[in-house]
Amino acid sequence: MTSPQPAAPQLERRQALVDVRLFLQRRSAVVGAVIMIVMLAIVLFGPLVAPYKPSVPDYAHILSAPSWQHLMGTDEFGRDIFSRILWGARLTLAVGFIGAFASAILGTPIGLATAYFGGWLDDIVMRVVDVILSFPGILLAIGVIAILGPGLQNVIITIIVFGVPMFARIVRGSAISIRNLEYIEAAKAGGATNARILFQHMLRNLVGPITVQLTLQMAQAILVASSLGFLGFGAQPPTPEWGAMLAEGRMFLTIAPWVDIFPGVCIFLAVLGFNMVGDGLNDMLDPRLRR
C-alpha cells in the first residue's frame, strides 16, 4: 500500500529552496559565497597549481621573506608557505566539511524524532543533549582528544560529538513549531507512516534552518579544528594543516612573522566566508528582518 502524495509537492519545494535573487541582494552573503567558492577551488585544484612540494625542506632558503620566488615566504625548514597552504586547505577545510555534514546527518533525525514523538524519548534525549552541551565547545573537544589521542581523524570525531547534539537541539526547536500544522495532520490522516512524515513532510520544510546551521557549523568546525591543530592535538608535523602550521611558526613570530600571518589569514577568511553565507541565509529565512 502506498500512502497518498502530499498536496502540491511542487509548491513545497519552491518554498524550501533558497531564493537566489533574494540571496544576491545581500552584499555580505555574496562576498561570503565568493570566498566559499575560492576555498572550494583551492581544495580541488590547489595541489595541482602549488609551485613546490609541501613537505620537502630546502635548507638554502630558511625563513626567507615573501618574494616572487616564494609568494608567502618560507618556514623554518625552507618549505614554501604558499604551497603548504594550498595543500593544507584539503585538511583544514575537509575536517570542517566532514565534521559538519556528519553532525547534520546524525543530528537531524534525532531532532526530528524527539520533536515528533515527544514523551519520554524527548525527555531523555534532550537531557543527554543538555549534559553534552554543558561542556563549553573546545573543552569538550579537548576532553575527547584526551581519550582518543591526537590526530586529524580524532578531530573529526570531536567535532561530531559536539555537532550532533547541537543539530539535534536546533532541528528539534524548528520541528516543534511545525509538527502540529495542518498538513502534518493531513498526512497522518491519510495514513502516511511515521518515517514518511518525518523525512518527507517535516524534513522538507526544515531545509532552510538546517542549511543555515550547517553553514555556521562549518565555520565553527574550522575554528575548532584549527585550534586543536594549533594546540598540537590535531594533524601532526610535517602535515601542512593550517592550525598546525601556526603552532610551528609560533617560535618565529619575532623574526619571521609571515610564517604566522598567512595560514591565520586563510583560517580567518574561510570562517568569515561560511559565517557570512550562513548569516545571509538566516536573514533571508527570517521574515521579521526583511526590512
Partner: protein, 306 residues
Amino acid sequence: MAAYFLRRVLQIIPTIFGVSVLAFLFVHAIPGNPAIVMAGPNASAATIRNLSIQFGLNKPLVVQYWYFLVNALSGHFGNSLGDGQPVTKIIGYHFMPTVELAFFGLGLAVVIGVLAGILSAVKRNSSLDYTVMTLSMMGVSFPAFWLAMMLIALFAVHFQMLPSGGDEGWKSFILPVISLGTSGAASIARFTRQSMVTTLTSDYVRTGRAKGVRESMLIFKHAFKNAVGPIITIIGIQFGFLLGGAVVVEVVYAWPGLGNLLITSVESRNYPVIQTLLLLFALEFIVASLIVDIVYALVNPRVRYD
C-alpha cells in the same frame, strides 16, 4: 520569584548529575585498562595496582561512580599523577588567573558589544551601522589564538608597547583580554543590534516619539529595557565560549591559568586533573546559565509565570 528561583535551581540538578556521570566515565573511556594507561609505559605492577585501588577500578562501575560522587561532594578529586599533589590544590594555584582573565574579557565584551549594538541599531542602515556590523562579522571569525599571536607581533614585538604576557601588573592583561573579548564583543554587538532594532521599530516606541518623549529616554528606557532579555541570554552563552577561548589564549600568552593546566595535563595524560577540570568548567557554565536565567527573570517578570 522565590518559586521560580527554586524551580530553576532544581532543574539543574539532573544536568549536574549527568555531567558528573560523563566526567566519571571519562576515565573509563580511555582504551585499555585505565590504570595501565595512567601509570605510563614503564610502570611497575605495584604502581598499577595502587592506581587500580585509588580509582577503585576493581569494583563494579556503579559502586565506582558512588565513590566518585561521595568523594567529589566532600571535595576530594584524587591526586595528580605527576607529583602526587591533591588535584584541588593544583587547580587552586591556577584558578584565579583564569577567573581574572575571564572576568575582564567578559567585561570588555559586554561593554563594547552592548554599546556598539545600540549605536548600530539607533543609526541603522547608516555607514556607521555597516562598519560596526562588518567589524563584528570579522570579530566572530577570528581564531582567538591567531588574533593573540598577531597582537603580540604588533604591540609586543613591533611597537614594544605592551608585554606579551608574564606578570607586569595591569599591562600584562591588555593583550590577553582583547584576544579573549573580541569574539564575544562581536557576538553581543550583533545580538544587541537585532534585539534593539525589534524594539525600536515597535509601536510603543513610535507612540512615545509621537508624544514627544526625549530620544535618549526612548532609546534607553523604552527600547533598551525591553531588548535586554535576549542580550542577557547571549551574554550567558558567550561565557561558555569565553571559557573555551581562554584555553587557547592562555597557551599563547603563557598565562598561568586553568587552560594552560588543561593542555599540559592532556599532554602528560594526567587524567585526574583533566577529569576535575572538565567537571569544573561544565559546572561554571551551568551556574552561569542559571545566573543568566535568574537575571532574565528579574528584568522580565513575564518569564516567572510561565
